[in-house]
């Protein structure tokens, strides 16, 4: 086991951001364990122990359903994200699982060119190494600094 080095965690995050921002979200669920937790919530709710997210998925299959809905069901004006992901900070490692906190900034680029900061926050992750040697998220909570969501949130953070 190569361990949860800064380099490996940084690469994991770089690949994750690249997947979403390059519009390859079909590959997004593969960053997660089959049993996982992905939630988009606010810092206020999280601090208060309020668990309801605007997105809440407890399986990789639910993430696949998010992607399918994004592609085939939901209606929204064309837009893209640009993730800027900061340095992962390892909070601790226990039982082969790293607790990691990583800041993010997501810029949203609309069809008409309007470009604005859509979300900032931190990922609260539990990262594990699979049998294939790949790091994956057992948990990724996208905790947004702001309580506000402009218009809608279609593409995952």
């Amino acid at each position: 086991m190569a361990g949860f080095t800064q380099e490996r965690l940084g690469t994991l995050n770089a690949a994750y951001a690249r997947c979403i921002d390059n519009d390859e979200v079909e590959a997004w669920p593969a960053f997660f364990e089959e049993r996982c937790l992905y939630v988009v919530n606010t810092a206020e709710n999280h601090a208060a122990g309020m668990e309801a997210g605007v997105i809440y998925a407890d399986s990789r299959a639910m993430l696949q359903d998010r992607v399918s809905a994004l592609r085939d069901a939901n209606v929204y004006e064309r837009h893209r994200y640009r993730h800027i992901v900061g340095l992962p900070f390892v909070l601790g490692i226990q039982d082969g699982e790293a607790s990691v906190e990583t800041p993010f900034l997501v810029v949203r680029i609309m069809r008409d060119g309007a470009t604005e900061v859509f979300a900032s926050g931190r990922y609260l992750d539990r990262v594990v190494e699979g049998a294939d040697g790949q790091l994956r998220f057992a948990q990724r909570l996208a905790i947004c600094d702001s309580r506000n969501i402009d218009t809608l949130l279609a593409i995952p953070l």
């Binding site: 399918s68 209606v75 929204y76 969501i149 402009d150 279609a154």
Partner: protein
């Protein structure tokens, strides 16, 4: 250029089947709405009783543009008053909520009790015998505007109008029953979100009341072949049209071979199904088979039950072409861990990222932008006729017309 070239058109023929677009982009209308609708003889949602359960607990909220403090006083009574210091107009409370014995304006430390009465003026007698307020200054003559408050099924409403009817009368029995159907026991807040949408507030309220658009704009259920064959539902419109309930009884079970392609919606993919349908394993917790109930109270409140997700929405205008939605997601205090988990999973259906609601965040903006050059043109609202009566089907715009009937009444327009 004649004077008629510079006059903005502001005409609206009697009736409810046409809505002129200038209504959504007019500063004079916005200002009149504040006075006649939000501060008029209406009831506005303020917060939940559960959020101010203890004496001294308060929340800051809004009635239209007006910042408001709602508090529970020492006697356990609900109090609400404008969040504006009677001295220079600064906000009295700066936090979203908390617990306090009194409120002190940060600007000059004028102090208010939990009823909004002025209780202290800093240096009222001056310093060293100099300065201070005139001898005839009476604190009783100065206080922020106070609201009447009323509680319905644990929700706190407020009104600026002295002559507003009692809330039970304002809502009517049918609406009241449908509120009590959902909020039937003590609730717990499980999340709060704010969503800012790029359109006039009335476009959002119309969208909420528009049962016609539901299966056309929101195609999540049909795309994934989650059946709606047993769909029964209808629309209840209150007497003046101000409030509404849209409901349906749908068995949302995956039906891979459902005959749904006949509607030729954007959906109809053969064999398309959810990879993880566990989100739909909800239970009939109210025991009546109603899986969707959207309820609105004029002017800006929504209570929604979508399967096991429960949420209230406060709708606030933010200028002419922006609207703030304050979402509060709820569970019951006696939720089993399994039911709570189901609510969390089903929260995917609703809200700013909801599978069956995210479009509502954007569609109002599509109208707002579409009508940019059409002040003098009109929207058409003829689906289901021209009336505002309760109907046992949802392909109707009756409750949208109801909104306009109530609006015209309050606005005298």
């Amino acid at each position: 250029m004649s004077s008629s070239d510079t006059q903005e058109p502001r005409t609206w023929e009697p009736g409810l089947t046409r809505v002129p677009y200038w209504l959504y982009r007019d500063q004079a209308i916005h200002d009149a709405e504040q006075r006649r609708v939000f501060q008029g003889p209406t009831w506005n949602y303020l917060c939940l009783e559960a959020e101010i359960a203890e004496p001294g607990a308060y929340r800051t909220t809004f009635v239209g543009d007006m910042p408001v403090i709602v508090a529970r006083d020492e006697d356990g009574e609900l109090q609400a008053f404008e969040n504006r210091c009677a001295h220079r107009g600064a906000l009295i409370a700066l936090d979203d909520g908390g617990k306090t014995r009194d409120f002190a304006c940060v600007y000059h430390a004028w102090r208010y009790d939990l009823q909004g009465n002025l209780r202290g003026v800093a240096f009222q007698q001056g310093v060293n015998g100099k300065g201070g307020m005139p001898a005839d200054f009476r604190m009783e003559d100065h206080h922020p505007r106070k609201l009447r408050t009323a509680s319905v099924a644990g929700m706190v409403f407020g009104s600026l109008d002295e002559d507003v009817p009692p809330i039970e009368e304002y809502l009517g029995d049918e609406i009241l029953e449908r509120i009590e159907r959902v909020l039937c026991k003590p609730v717990e807040v499980i999340g709060r979100f704010k969503q800012t949408i790029p359109n006039n507030w009335k476009l959002y309220m119309e969208n909420v009341k528009d049962s016609y658009h539901a299966s056309l704009l929101h195609v999540f259920f049909t795309t994934f072949n989650i059946n709606r064959l047993s769909q029964k539902g209808g629309v209840i419109v209150s007497e003046t049209g101000a409030h509404h309930v849209s409901y349906s009884k749908v068995s949302h079970q995956p039906q891979p071979n459902a005959e749904y392609s006949a509607e030729k919606l954007r959906s109809d993919k053969e064999g398309y199904a959810l990879a993880d349908p566990s989100m739909l394993d909800g239970c009939d917790e109210f025991g009546d088979g109603v899986t969707l109930q959207i309820l609105s109270v004029f002017p800006g409140f929504v209570l929604a039950q979508i399967q096991n997700t429960l949420a209230v929405r406060q709708i606030l205008p933010d200028g002419l072409d922006r609207t703030v939605l304050n979402w509060t997601y709820l569970g019951f205090q006696d939720d089993t861990p399994e039911l709570r988990r189901m609510r969390l999973k089903q929260s995917n259906l609703t809200g700013p990222a909801g599978f069956v609601s995210m479009e509502d965040g954007a569609v109002g903006g599509f109208v707002q932008r579409g009508i940019a050059a059409s002040r003098d043109r009109e929207a058409v609202l003829e689906m289901g006729g021209g009336g505002i009566e309760t109907q046992e089907n949802r392909t109707t715009e009756a409750s949208v017309r109801g909104f306009w009937n109530a609006y015209r009444g309050y606005m005298e327009i």
